[in-house]
Amino acid sequence: MTSETDAKQIADAAPRPAAGGRAASAPLLGRATEPTIFELSQPGRRSVQLLTTGVPEWPVDELVPVEHRRDVPVRLAEVSERDLVGHFTRLSHRQFSVDLGAYPLGSCTMKYNPKICDAVAVLPGLAAVHPGAPASLTQGWLSLLVELEEVLCAITGMAAATLQPAAGAAGELTGLLLMRAFHAANGEQRHRVIIPDSAHGTNPASVTLGGYEVTTVPSDERGCVDMGALREVLDTDVAGIMLTNPNTLGLFEEEIAEIAAAVHEVGGLLYYDGANLNAILGVVRPGDMGFDIVHMNLHKTFATPHGGGGPGAGPVAVSERLVDFLPGPRPVRRLGGVSEGNTFSPSEFAWVEPSRSIGRVHSWHGNALVLARALTYILVHGSDGLQRVAERAVLNANWLRVRLAGVFDVPFDRPCMHEVVLSASTLRKEHSVKALDVAKRLLEEGFHSPTVYFPLIVDEALMIEPTETESLQTLEALADALEAIVVEARSGDQSAWAAPRTTPVSRIDEARAARTLVATFDARR
C-alpha cells in the first residue's frame, strides 16, 4: 500500500520507546499487573486496516501548509490486533460489573441492564444516523424521541420534557437555568436555592453554576426536611428548592405537599432530583407532589448501563408554565400529522424552538442511543411493569433493612423506600472497624460494596440499594455476608482492615495518587 508511505514517514520520525513491547500475556485470575498498552507497544507493529478507496494519494506536504503540519506524529501505542484484544480482555477481567454480581450501591440504582437494549443501540437505522440530517430524513428518530418524551411525562406527571441533558447533573443545571429564565420572565432576580443537608453533591454544585447561592436546610430527627427550618429560610429571594423524594436516606418526604405549598407561596419553584425515581414509579408522580421541574437519570431508573461512569441521560420534564423555556430545538409531533402504522409522512415530526428557550444544552439532541435504550426498557415494562419495579425495589430494600437491623445501626429506623441507610458507627466505636473496612471486606465475598459515607449527615454511612432485579436469595447471601463480617469484627478479628485481598489488587493507596500525581503514562518517568 503506497498510500501508507507518508504516514509511515511520519511514524518513523516518532521517538521510539526505549524498551517496548515486553510481555503480552497475563495470568487468568492471577494477580499479576496488566502492563499499560504503551508497554505492550512495539514500534512498527499495527492493527489498523482501512478500506481501499482509490482516492489519489497526495503526500501530506501538498495537503497541509507547513506551519500547520505536525512534525512529530502523535505517539500512540503500536500493537497487533491480537495484543489489543488480549490487553482489553484482560482489563475487563479486572473489573466488577452488574453482569458479574450484585452491585448494591445506594443512590446509583445498579439494576440489571437488559440485553435487548444493547441490540437496539446497534440497529443501523438508529446507530448510523447523522445528527445533523434534516428532520425529513430522520422521522424515525424524531418519532422515537417524542414517544419517549410522552412516556416520561406520563411517568412524572409533567407537561413536556427536554431530552438534551447528558446526565443527571446536566439536568440539574438545565433545571436551574429554567428556574432563572422563569423568574427573569417575571421580571424577578432571585438569589438563593434551598437544598437539604442530605442532598447529593451535584445539587449544590449545580446551584453555583446556575448562578445561585446555596441555602442548606437541615434534616429533622426523622430524616426529612425540617419544616420549621425550611419556613425560616423561605422568602421571595428564594428561586426554588431542590429535593429528591424519597430522599437520599431512602425516606419519603411525607410533608412534601406542605413543602410545595410553602415554596410556591413565596414564588419559588420545586426541583425534583430524579435519582430516586425508581422507588415511586406508578405510585406517586413528582408533578402530583407539586414539583415544577424534574430530572430523570435514565441510567438509574430506566436501566441504561452506567458504562463504568457514563454515558447517562438526564431528561428534564417541566410543568405547563415552564414549557416555553425548555432547551431547543425540541422534537414535536406536528398537529394534524398522523402516522399510519409505522409509516411516516416526511413532515409528521419536526424540530421547533420553544418561544422563550434557554437555548441548547447539548451539541446535538442528547445521548440519543441512551434514550433509545430507555424507551425500549419502558415499553417492555409498560405502565404495569414499572409499578412492579417500584414495588419490588422497595420490598427488597425493606427486607434488607429488617434483616440487618440487629447487625448495623439503623439511624432512621422506619420503613424505607428503595434503599436503606445503615451505619457502622457502633462497630467503629467498639471494634475500630469503619464503614470503609466493611465495604472492602465485602468485596472479598463477591459483592460490590454499598455506597459509603454518603449521605454526609449519617456517621459511617452504609447506603444499600439492592434494586428490584436482585432475588431474595441474593439478598440473603448479601445479608449473610455482611452479618458475617460484623460477627468477625466483633470477635476481635481485624481482617477487614487488610481487606480486600482476593481482588485483582489489594487495598489501594489513594493518598499517594493525589500526592504524586501521575495522570498519564508520560508522567511516570
Binding site: 498510500s3 501508507e4 504516514a7 499495527r46 492493527s47 489498523v48 486496516q49 482516492v55 489519489p56 497526495w58 505536525r70 502523535v74 500512540l76 503500536e78 482489563l91 473489573q95 453482569d99 458479574l100 444493547d118 437496539v120 448510523a128 444516523v129 447523522h130 445533523g132 430522520t138 447528558a166 437555568l177 453533591g201 451535584t202 453554576l209 446556575g210 445561585y212 406517586v284 458504562g307 461512569g309 457514563g310 454515558p311 409505522n342 409509516t343 434557554i358 437555548g359 441548547r360 444544552v361 447539548h362 451539541s363 442528547g366 440519543a368 409498560g382 411493569g385 414495588e391 422497595v394 465495604a439 468485596l443 460490590h448 431474595l472 485483582p504 489489594s506 493507596d509 493525589a514 508522567a523
Partner: protein, 461 residues
C-alpha cells in the same frame, strides 16, 4: 407481564410476612394518600421484548438518513469514520458496559487503567500534559474550559471566535446565563478569525479567548495570533480541536493553548444521532486543580503493585459540593474506554493515515466540486483538512433534499447549524446557501465521483 423481576408470588408473600405486612401497597404507607396515583400510570401495558424490538426496528427503518441508505458526507463534529469489529467487540464487553463509576478501585482496575491510558492518549493528541476522564460532549467540554479559563484569569469577558461550532457557542451562551460570563463573538473573514485590534475589543480585557482548530468551517487558523493576544491580555487560550485532524496538524498545545477541548466522537464512537459522544479535555499542569470531572492517577496497592484510582477528588462535587470546579458526575467513561481502544487499534501510523486519507478525499472532492457551475468557495484559500464549506447556487437545504433522492447525505446546511441568525462567521447569504461537506477515509473515489455528478444536478435552478 413483561419484566426482569425475579420475585415469585410465594417469595413476595414470604418477604411481606417477614416485614409484618400483608400487601405490597403497604410498603408505600409513607406516601400520603392524597398524592397517590390512582389507577396506575397512563400509557400502554408492557409488551414482550420481541414486540418492542419490532416497533423500534420500524422506527429505525423510517430514518432515511441511515448510513446503509445514504452515503454520508455530513460532519460538523460528527463523522462517519471506520469503527472496526474489533473495537466494537472490546468496547462492548459487559464488564465495561455494566459497571459503575470506579468507587471501589480494587474491583475496578479494568475501567481505571483503560481511562488512564485514554488520558495519556488525549494529552498526547492535545499536546498538553494532562487530560481528564471525559465530559459529556464537545460543547460541554468547552463550557467547562471557559469556566476554568475565567477562574484562572479572574476575568469574565470571553472572546469566542465564531469559527467555534455554532451549537457549541449556543451551549456556551445557555450556561453563561448562570455563570454570568460575558461572551463576545468575534467574526471570521474567509474562514479566519478577525480578532479585535490591539486597542482591545468590546467588553474590556478578555480573560479567555476561544478559537477552533480547525474551525467549524473546516479551516485551520493561525492560533499563534490568538496566543499572542492572550499573552498580551494575560488571558487563557482555549482551543477546540478535532482528534482525527490532529493526526497530521499541529497540536493546539504546541501552539500554546492552555486548554484544549474537542468532540471525541471520531474516536471509535458511531454517529448515533448525536450521542452518546465524548467531551475531550486537556490542560496545562498549572490548571490541574481546576480540572473538571474525573481524573485517574497511578498509585500502588498495599503490596506495592501498580494500581489506579480516581484522584484529586477534592475538585469534585461529591466532596466540594457548591465549591466544586464542576457539577459533572456521570460522564462518558464508556466512550473514553472506546476511544482508548480505537486509538490502540489505529496506532501512531494509523491515526496519521486516517487523517491523511481524510485530507486527500477533502482535496479531491473540493477541487472537483469547485469546477461545477453553481458551486463556489466559501472560505477563500484557508487551508482545510477534513471538511469544507461551499456556496451553492440554490439554498443548501434544497440541495440536501435533492441529494438524498440520489443516495447521499450531502452535508450540513450552514443555515441549520447557525440557526438562521447572522452570526458573523459567514455572510447571511453564504449562510443560506452554504453547504458543509466532510470526507472521511471511508469514502471511495467512486462515491466522490458520484457525489460530484449528483451535486451537479442538485445545484441547478
Amino acid at each position: 407481564m413483561a419484566d426482569y423481576l425475579p420475585h415469585t408470588d410465594e417469595e413476595i408473600a414470604a418477604m411481606l410476612a417477614f416485614l409484618g405486612l400483608s400487601h405490597l401497597d403497604e410498603l408505600f404507607d409513607s406516601v400520603p394518600e392524597a398524592l397517590r396515583l390512582a389507577g396506575g400510570l397512563r400509557f400502554a401495558e408492557g409488551a414482550p421484548e420481541p414486540d418492542v424490538l419490532a416497533h423500534i426496528e420500524q422506527l429505525a427503518d423510517a430514518n432515511r438518513a441511515r448510513g446503509d441508505r445514504l452515503v454520508c458526507f455530513a460532519g460538523g463534529g460528527a463523522y462517519d469514520h471506520e469503527v472496526p469489529p474489533v473495537v466494537r467487540a472490546l468496547a462492548g464487553r459487559s464488564e465495561f458496559v455494566t459497571s459503575y463509576t470506579p468507587y471501589q478501585p480494587e474491583v475496578a482496575q479494568g475501567v481505571l487503567q483503560a481511562v488512564f491510558e485514554f488520558q495519556t492518549m488525549v494529552a498526547r493528541l492535545a499536546g498538553l500534559p494532562v487530560a481528564n476522564a471525559s465530559l459529556y460532549d464537545g460543547s460541554n467540554a468547552l463550557v467547562e474550559a471557559v469556566n476554568l479559563g475565567v477562574a484562572a484569569s479572574g476575568r469574565r469577558t470571553v472572546w469566542v471566535s465564531t469559527g467555534v461550532h455554532p451549537h457549541w457557542r449556543a451551549v456556551l451562551a445557555t450556561f453563561a446565563a448562570g455563570t454570568g460570563h460575558e461572551l463576545i463573538e468575534i467574526p471570521l473573514h474567509e474562514g479566519q478569525t478577525v480578532w479585535p485590534g490591539d486597542d482591545g475589543g468590546p467588553g474590556g480585557t478578555p480573560g479567555v479567548l476561544v478559537a477552533g482548530y480547525p474551525n467549524y468551517l473546516g479551516c485551520l487558523e493561525d492560533l499563534g495570533e490568538a496566543r499572542r493576544r492572550c499573552d498580551g491580555y494575560g488571558a487563557m487560550l482555549v482551543a477546540t480541536a478535532d482528534p482525527v485532524a490532529a493526526g497530521i496538524v499541529r497540536s493546539p498545545g504546541d501552539w500554546g493553548a492552555d486548554v484544549v477541548v474537542g468532540e471525541g466522537q471520531p474516536l471509535g464512537t458511531g454517529l448515533g444521532f448525536g450521542g452518546p459522544y465524548l467531551g475531550l479535555f486537556a490542560c496545562t499542569m498549572a490548571q490541574v486543580r481546576r480540572l473538571p470531572g474525573r481524573l485517574v492517577g497511578e498509585t500502588v496497592d498495599t503490596e506495592g503493585r501498580r494500581a489506579y484510582v480516581t484522584t484529586l477528588r477534592a475538585r469534585e462535587q461529591d466532596i466540594r459540593r457548591e465549591k466544586a470546579t464542576s457539577n459533572v458526575c456521570t460522564n462518558q467513561t464508556l466512550m473514553a474506554v472506546t476511544a482508548a481502544i480505537q486509538l490502540g487499534w489505529l496506532g501512531t501510523a494509523g491515526l496519521a493515515e486516517v487523517a491523511l486519507r481524510c485530507a486527500r478525499g477533502t482535496r479531491y472532492l473540493r477541487e472537483a466540486l469547485l469546477e461545477l457551475d453553481g458551486v463556489s468557495p466559501l472560505t477563500g484559500n484557508s487551508p482545510v483538512v477534513r471538511e469544507f464549506a461551499l456556496r451553492c447556487a440554490v439554498p443548501a437545504p434544497v440541495v440536501i433534499e435533492r441529494m438524498a433522492d440520489q443516495g447521499f447525505l450531502a452535508g450540513l446546511a450552514l443555515s441549520d447549524l447557525i440557526g438562521g441568525d447572522d452570526d458573523g462567521s459567514v455572510s447571511p447569504d453564504d449562510a443560506s446557501h452554504g453547504l458543509l461537506v466532510a470526507v472521511t477515509e471511508r469514502r471511495t473515489r467512486a462515491e466522490l465521483d458520484a457525489y460530484v455528478a449528483a451535486l451537479d444536478k442538485a445545484v441547478r435552478g
